[in-house]
């Protein structure tokens, strides 16, 4: 009776999903990697399947592309730090001060904006920033089509992704550790800095994986609220798929966020982010 054997049942269960992932997803990532080293014939616009570093030397020799990479990584880092600073007191309140009922309400209140339509949220900021929109008619501030607009929208979009892991990390800290710190004479600020913050750090790093990775890979927010003055790596990829139709160059550009994220995940692992929550 073959089906009675555990390995036979495990194989039966795992073959379809593994086939899906290996034959489609992993195969697609491999094709992407190979395509990055191909070229496009400038006259026929056909893909020439010859190995070369041409795309990469084109990217790194161009000040415009270096500038775009710098902006993408810079804004991703700024968004991550800002969201961590905004999230920490919020998560602290949720985990340590709020009554259980309030805590549940706050938990749901953070998750609803997280799940509400991505495009709707970006579009609503377009209406806020645009000329004659909410912000310019109330405060006379014109932020549309700038790095600041892109930065603000990213901070908004990914904030819940930071609050949740920080909250989970803070909630797990035993009250006795905080009491011990106080018994030894530390006040609020010292306890926060020397006890709470180090214990919450894996949660912050876990949240930063999202804020950083999601900013790094976005092209819709920069396109809609940043316009031509805030081009991201993703916009180069996107425009080379559509208008320019240079898939090898887009693939080469896509290697940059992959390499950055791989380095980031290794660093996060060293800081214990994967054991955080």
């Amino acid at each position: 009776m073959l089906w009675r054997r555990p390995w036979a049942r495990a194989t039966l269960l795992l073959t379809p999903p593994l086939a899906w992932f290996l034959l489609l997803y992993v195969a697609a990532l491999v094709v992407l990697l190979i395509t990055a080293f191909w070229q496009i014939n400038p006259f026929t616009t056909n893909i020439e399947r010859v190995f070369s570093f041409g795309n990469f030397s084109q990217i790194f020799s161009s000040p415009a592309y270096r500038n775009i990479i710098g902006r993408t990584v810079g804004i991703a880092a700024a968004v991550t730090v800002t969201d961590a600073v905004v999230a920490f007191p919020f998560a602290y309140f949720m985990a340590r001060i709020a009554a259980p009922r309030t805590r549940t309400i706050l938990f749901v209140a953070i998750l609803l904006p997280l799940w509400a339509s991505y495009l709707a949220k970006v579009y609503s900021w377009l209406l806020i920033f645009t000329k004659g929109g909410v912000l310019s008619s109330i405060l006379n501030v014109h932020l549309i089509y700038s790095n600041w607009a892109v930065f603000t929208v990213f901070c908004y979009l990914w904030l819940p992704f930071m609050i949740i892991p920080v909250y989970a990390a803070l909630e797990r800290i035993p009250p006795s550790q905080i009491e011990a710190s106080q018994d030894l004479g530390a006040r609020t600020w010292r306890t926060t800095r020397l006890v709470l913050f180090p214990l919450a750090l894996p949660g912050i790093v876990a949240g930063s994986i999202f804020t950083f990775s999601l900013t790094l890979g976005d092209y819709i927010t920069p396109l809609l609220v940043g316009g031509t003055s805030s081009t991201f790596i993703g916009n180069i990829i996107y425009s080379n798929i559509g208008v320019a139709n240079n898939v090898p160059f887009a693939a080469a550009m896509a290697m940059i966020p992959i390499v950055i994220m791989a380095a980031y995940l290794l660093g996060a692992r060293a800081l214990g982010a994967f054991e955080a929550v």
């Binding site: 390995w7 495990a10 269960l13 379809p16 999903p17 593994l18 899906w20 992932f21 489609l24 997803y25 195969a27 697609a28 094709v31 992407l32 007191p89 919020f90 309140f93 001060i97 549940t104 706050l106 938990f107 209140a109 953070i110 998750l111 609803l112 904006p113 799940w115 509400a116 339509s117 991505y118 495009l119 709707a120 579009y123 609503s124 209406l127 645009t130 004659g132 929109g133 909410v134 008619s137 908004y156 992704f161 949740i164 905080i178 306890t191 876990a206 994986i209 999202f210 890979g217 092209y219 819709i220 809609l224 993703g234 996107y238 798929i241 898939v247 887009a250 693939a251 896509a254 982010a273």
Partner: protein
Amino acid sequence: MESGWLRAGLRVWVAVVLAFLFIPIILIVLYAFNSSNIESWPIAGFSLHWFAVAWHDNQVRSAFLLSLRVGVIATALAMLLGSATAYALSKFAFFGREAISFLLVLPLALPGILTGIALNSFFSFTGIQLGTVTIIIGHTTFCIVVVYNNLIARLRRTPGSLAEASQDLGARGWQTLRFVTLPLTATALVSGALLAFALSFDEVIVTVFTAGAQNTLPLWIFGAIRLGQQLPEVNAVVSIVIALTLIPVILAARVAGAGAISRTARPAETAGAD
């Protein structure tokens, strides 16, 4: 340990952050009821006019139907593939199990544009025409992760002794599955399906790369915003999308608890926790 001032300060902070999170969403819904065709503040007057316009727009209607079809099919496929993986990985220990669970969460942990461009170059490499099928393939790939994450978390919290007791009492494998394991995990399956549908219905970053000439509802919205055309109609459509993504999420939270809808937001941690 907190002084009264600190508590008060934190309360204000929480209120400000909540306002920051909710004002844009409330605003967009307000704009949808705007009677004017100019996107300016303050709103001219309330009207349902733009919902009617959206309802009678054939492009919107066919995009809506495509999104529904893709969402339902991708969710169904993800249910089969994701639950099979979760049951197998929770029940059997074997070499390479960690590698599989890491592989599964990659589509959510890596930036979406990478999944999109990878699938795009794969389809162009293999000569597969972009269309409804390729949209479904893209959506299924990340929906599997949602179903898997929800189910594996439940299975980990379910003691194995229950299934063992069933077997000791003489139940066959399928009987244990039907009468013990499925009832214990039913709410996690339902919430996983609801979340997968919500994610699929709203997805745009991957879909742009896999859709070809087809328009899902988010693709129609994206195109209209980019061209700056039909914006009052976009307001109404976007509000409908907000409702249609939040209703499944709220249902999922009611069925399986608030924890269920936060799980999908934490794929990287789940990746390492196994």
